[in-house]
Point group: D2
Chain length 131, copies 4
């Protein structure tokens, strides 16, 4: 996971949002975000795109955890519950993996463990290893 850590530390966008990668190995990953003012929408709840970003970082970490470069080609998110503060956790699990494609389920939960959003992502695996 050392390589993956380095790999993700260079991700400007997730740093700009304050998203933190907690773990990533064997097709699974966990990412976290503490809600701040900058993440809120007009209703003063966390913006859907901030939730998407959190899930997307977990997807990126999980899908690249095998050491082969994987890039997203499609993602689908459904929102369950508005949340306005606290620590959000995105947990990614590998649903399917072939030489060329991977599919991942990501669940975002709030501080009380309640489900906030579900995300499913598909990645295309390149023939290139992560250095």
């Amino acid at each position: 996971m050392a390589d993956l850590d380095a790999f993700l530390q260079e991700d400007n966008f997730s740093r700009h949002l304050g998203i933190e990668l907690v773990e990533a190995a064997n097709g699974a990953a966990v990412a976290r975000l503490t809600v701040e003012e900058a993440h809120l929408n007009i209703h003063k709840t966390v913006h859907g795109a901030a939730l998407f970003a959190l899930a997307d970082v977990a997807l990126e970490a999980a899908s690249n955890s095998h050491g082969v470069v994987a890039v997203s080609i499609n993602a689908n998110i459904s929102y369950m519950k508005a949340v306005s503060s606290g620590l959000l956790t995105a947990t990614a699990a590998e649903v399917s993996l072939t030489n060329t494609l991977g599919i991942y389920d990501i669940k975002i939960t709030g501080e009380d463990g309640e489900l906030v959003a579900v995300f499913q992502g598909m990645v295309y695996r390149k023939r290139q290893r992560i250095e």
Copy 2:
């Protein structure tokens, strides 16, 4: 559109990312983002979640442009092309509208007009008007 403008100016998240709303009326909207360092991923191309955020702002503006509060329940994005600089434009068009649900297609194009990503969003319309 005056009300919608005010409505969206209070969107902290899109301001934090530098997303600008260009127009919004009658179920359509245009939003723009000039690519900066903060939007890049580990491959030095625009992060998928930054593209999602841009499309999501266009969705928010288009779906709320009728003066009735609309909240996203599902979104799907497919990525076509990596892009690393320039001005990105998201254009939202209304596909379907009922009293309770709306569906919108959003296309993101780069400076040369090339298609970067396509996004489809579904909103739930509340019985509440935008003030």
Copy 3:
């Protein structure tokens, strides 16, 4: 479940395809399909739309199992593996449920338990009970 059984026995389309409902209760359901010539595509593997139909019946059964009429508004399917014969099983699990919306994950597996497709469906719940 007696009412749901009757409810689903009137589903002409699933009968036309030979899809069988095995169980449905408390937001979960299992449906089955034995592959026949009529389900095959040009590659002599099960047509993607036949897999979708199998998952959709499981979604219908699971989402209506609470006794409240639920209608699909969106579904997403990803295909993992071509399959050309045997018994296919779709297993539906409830991801989220509110008064108005429900989200369900459906997995389709082949005879050896291998994952063939994953499906996620969203339903709108009416204020009407199943008679």
Copy 4:
């Protein structure tokens, strides 16, 4: 298109449902279905999976119309309007095409031109030509 015609005439599943391919060329296609008893669900409206099948045939025809074998990897459908009789038409348009991936929008309309469902499909293009 002669080859594609032959290619699709061997599609057992679409024949079983009565889906007819009207045209297919240059990444576009049109398919049709006349609603019969066998297509109806418990509400006596066309089953969502029958709508999906109609759109899927248009996707298959459009994505294979370039003469290169294309297989679906993901599809998303949103339902707009229940319909219980008449002629349904699915019209597929190519949104994006690369050497490995294609994305297609399919709209299903009823006899009066009203929108019944929208479908977006992604295909993986093999290195194999259609014979």
